[in-house]
């Protein structure tokens, strides 16, 4: 029973990812794509959690954490790139 529900949830998440992917591909502006990418990251995070439930293991908890951090950092980096054109700024006294 629980397994069936989890599988259905997984498929829904996948559909969400596919929709986000459409935005990534189509998205008229760069911010559209970045937001869609961030959303893919979050969805994948949930998917990994569901898979670890399905596989009955705790081995993927680190993956979830890493993915959370990475998707955050990635979005920030992209945003900064869009805003300023550089990601890591040089020190002004150099």
């Amino acid at each position: 029973m629980i397994k069936g529900i989890l599988t259905i949830a997984l498929i829904f998440f996948t559909i969400t990812v596919v929709i986000c992917l459409y935005r990534v591909i189509k998205g008229p502006t760069l911010p559209d794509r970045v937001v869609a990418l961030d959303m893919i990251g979050v969805n994948m995070l949930s998917m990994i959690a569901i898979i670890s439930l399905l596989q009955n293991t705790t081995a993927y908890l680190e993956v979830i954490l890493i993915l959370g951090i990475l998707s955050f950092i990635g979005t920030i980096a992209f945003s900064k790139y869009i805003e300023r054109g550089v990601i890591i700024e040089r020190k002004s006294n150099r």
């Binding site: 599988t7 596919v18 990251g41 994948m44 890493i66 993915l67 790139y81």
Partner: protein, 793 residues
């Protein structure tokens, strides 16, 4: 002792630079000691039994440097060292100490002497080949001695190309022989003649060895290097290109006759090519304007004559009884003429050198009327030319008569009536020989005297000693031929025809100056009469030579082949070496696809079996769809930024697959690496120049598409085939069992990485370190602006 004698010249060569630079006396005087010592050593061996000395070089490969002094080896050794001594003596007066780099000259010459002695004394085919190539190299160095001249370099390169070509093929023949018999020693091969005869590679080996001999001995059609080798200093021409090196091929044929004579291909090749060479060389000698050119063509012709006689000698292996007696003495005749040729041709070259030295030209059209000015040279030239033409009372007469006997007897071996042509061609060639001999002598010494670059006078006596000695041999050999033949030639014939003669006493041939009126004598008289007639009318038929157009010659063929190997091949490689990496990738991928797919089909390696496959869930399919969509986006993206992001999607989906297939460590690493590399891609993208950031879809190229499709299909086929045919169980069971017991860890992946197979990890770390340092280096270590251009190239 015997081995040391071979290496004596090369050891002496080491001291040449010292002698040349420190001592004022002409270096040649020191060199002269070497051949004199050698010739007296070898002369003392005359009449002894064959002796053998050997030094094992690589025992496991049967490589030996050896010296086997049987009759044939001794005959050639005496020839090499004897004429070597005379040539060195001559060169002392010919080459000027102050103007020439004598140490180079004598080093090359001594190197050559060692090489030649090694060739004629080697019993081991490998050491024979070693010395053989050494003669090619030292000859190359000697021809190119005046390396500032274009013609010298051209001649040196040409002779090198042709002789090394033949040498390499000869090595192939030797290897076949060694393979059949299992031994490298020629004397042991002789014991295996039946095995060699029955081998399917027999004829191939015979032809390969023969090609080596033909190229070295300047036989048709490989004679073309010899006229160009005349750019060498005259002592070199006299020594290498008349008396010794060009006879290495003759030696080879003589040495291998007991093995290959059973092949009729071998016999007919030698006889026919020898006769063609004989005729061709004598016919074209009269065309030449250069004294050394005439002599070069005459050498070619005479070598063809010796070669054809050796061919007839090989015929004696095929017949027995009464008929055998007919061919028996051909080997004897060949060797006798070999000695005669060495004497008169050496002297003739030296005369040509003297003329060049004293008048400043070698062009026969500018020379003439020197008889009263240079009487001694004239006498020597007259004696030797008449000997070459085959007239009494000189040694050439005796060997020419023997030659006619040989050629007449060759008809008896015929399987067809064409063999009647053999003596006819031989006779015609002798006529032309007579013509060019007269042409040579009268062109220099008779007629009107022309204006010459130098004021001509008789050469210094030192220069004349060597030709005088050789000319006296020419006469002496006529009057007492049997002394020489008993001492030198008969033991050598034993080596050529060991099955017909067991001891020297069996060879019951006795040369007489007068052997009654017979066909041979009539032929000689015919040669003189017709030759004289042709010579008198030479102006009228000279036009024949211009009938053959210049482009239709073997020299042009050689040039064209060299051009083919050089310019045309450059064109070909320029066509496919485009410099574009895309083209090279196409080659590589196409090659991989063709090789792998054809192997799969030819070896019937393809299989498809779903027995070991797992079930496919709905989620797997969805993930595959995402992956494929991402990949397609990379391909069809309109901008590079989209492509980079889609690449990130692909990477993340792969990470999802790792999650799905129970690989948490991989998933962790893949996620972080993917993020970092996407960031790096963005960095690279950001720094692209504005102009080249072309915001357009990848252009469609059918070729690329086909290749990409083929590679994809190939990899899929490979993966399916290897998945379907798992033959052995995996090793991973062992890891599962021992990961905690032996290694004390719970994470099997990490234990494998740092414990079971930590070596790989160490070097992966190294790779990362190198990459990091390289990136640092590329960014920090930049050249200054001016130097940039070199790097772009």
């Amino acid at each position: 002792m015997q081995l040391w004698m071979i290496f004596l010249p090369v050891i002496a060569a080491l001291f040449m630079p010292l002698l040349f630079k420190k001592i004022k006396l002409h270096t040649g005087w020191f060199v002269l000691i070497v051949p004199v010592v050698l010739v007296s050593y070898y002369a003392s061996k005359i009449g002894d039994r064959a002796t053998y000395a050997s030094w094992t070089w690589v025992a496991d490969l049967q490589l030996k440097i050896d010296s086997s002094l049987d009759g044939l080896g001794l005959l050639f050794s005496i020839l090499i060292t004897g004429i070597g001594a005379l040539v060195v003596l001559y060169s002392i007066f010919y080459l000027d100490k102050t103007k020439e780099q004598l140490h180079n000259f004598y080093m090359y010459l001594l190197l050559f002497m060692t090489a030649m002695l090694g060739v004629v004394q080697s019993d081991n085919v490998m050491s024979l080949y070693l010395f053989w190539e050494l003669t090619s190299i030292s000859s190359f160095l000697l021809i190119g001695y005046w390396f500032t001249r274009d013609a010298s370099r051209f001649g040196a390169l040409k002779s090198m190309m042709i002789t090394v070509f033949g040498g390499l093929l000869m090595l192939g023949g030797f290897l076949i022989l060694a393979n059949i018999t299992g031994t490298m020693s020629i004397s042991e091969m002789l014991l295996h003649t039946t095995e060699i005869k029955e081998s399917p590679y027999f004829t191939l080996a015979a032809i390969l060895v023969l090609l080596g001999a033909l190229t070295k001995s300047a036989q048709f059609p490989f004679y073309i290097w010899l006229p160009d080798a005349m750019e060498a200093p005259t002592p070199v021409s006299a020594y290498l290109h008349s008396a010794t090196m060009v006879k290495a091929g003759i030696y080879l044929v003589a040495r291998f006759t007991p093995i290959f004579a059973y092949s009729t291909t071998w016999i007919w090749l030698i006889v026919i090519l020898g006769l063609i060479t004989l005729f061709w060389g004598s016919f074209f000698a009269t065309k030449q304007r250069d004294l050394k050119g005439i002599l070069a063509f005459s050498t070619v012709s005479q070598l063809g004559m010796i070669m054809s006689m050796l061919g007839v000698a090989a015929m004696s292996y095929h017949v027995d009884g009464n008929a055998e007696n007919v061919f028996k003495y051909a080997g004897f005749a060949a060797l006798f003429h070999l000695i005669n040729h060495a004497t008169f041709k050496g002297a003739l070259f030296m005369i040509a050198g003297i003329i060049d030295h004293e008048t400043g030209t070698r062009d026969i059209r500018k020379l003439g009327g020197l008889m009263s000015l240079m009487p001694i040279s004239f006498t020597v030239a007259m004696i030797t030319s008449l000997s070459m033409a085959g007239l009494p009372p000189f040694n050439g007469f005796l060997s020419k008569e023997l030659f006619f006997t040989t050629m007449l007897s060759a008809q008896d071996f015929s399987w067809s009536t064409v063999a009647v042509l053999i003596p006819v061609v031989a006779w015609l060639a002798s006529v032309f020989t007579f013509v060019y001999c007269l042409y040579f002598v009268t062109g220099i010494f008779f007629g009107k005297r022309h204006e010459l670059p130098k004021k001509p006078h008789e050469a210094p006596i030192g220069m004349l000693i060597s030709p005088l000695v050789l000319a006296s041999f020419v006469v002496v050999l006529f009057f007492i031929p049997n002394v020489v033949t008993d001492a030198l030639i008969k033991p050598a014939v034993l080596a050529i025809q060991p099955n017909q003669f067991l001891t020297v006493g069996d060879i019951d041939i006795h040369i007489s100056m007068w052997h009654g009126f017979n066909t041979e004598l009539l032929m000689t008289i015919g040669v003189v009469v017709v030759g004289f007639g042709l010579f008198m009318t030479v102006k009228h038929w000279r036009k024949v030579y211009s009938l053959v157009p210049e482009w239709f010659s073997l020299n042009q063929l050689y040039r064209r082949m060299m051009r083919l190997a050089d310019e045309d091949m450059t064109k070909v490689s320029k066509r496919y070496m485009t410099g574009s990496i895309r083209t090279y990738f196409i080659y590589m991928f196409a090659a991989i696809v063709i090789i792998v797919v054809s192997t799969l089909f030819m070896k019937d390696g393809y299989a498809f079996d779903t027995a070991h496959a797992s079930d496919i869930g709905a989620f797997d399919i969805a993930l595959v769809v995402v992956l494929v969509l991402g990949t397609l986006t990379v391909l069809f993206a309109r901008t590079r930024l989209t492509a980079i992001i889609a690449l990130g999607v692909v990477g993340y989906s792969v990470a999802m697959f790792f999650v799905l297939f129970n690989a948490p460590d991989l998933a962790l690493t893949q996620l972080s690496i993917e993020t970092v590399s996407v960031a790096l891609f963005l960095l690279a993208f950001y720094h692209l120049p504005k102009l080249s950031r072309h915001e357009a879809r990848l252009p469609f190229r059918l070729g690329n598409f086909v290749i990409a499709l083929a590679v994809g299909v190939m990899v899929t086929l490979m993966a399916l085939a290897s998945q379907s045919q798992k033959l052995l169980p995996s090793i991973s069971e062992y890891y599962k069992e021992t990961v905690y017991k032996e290694a004390g860890g719970g994470n099997i992946v990490n234990v494998i990485l740092v414990d079971y197979r930590g070596f790989d990890t160490l070097f992966e770390i190294t790779v990362l370190a190198i990459a990091g340092m390289a990136i640092f280096g590329m960014i920090k270590l930049r050249r200054k602006k001016g130097a940039d251009k070199n790097e772009i190239k």
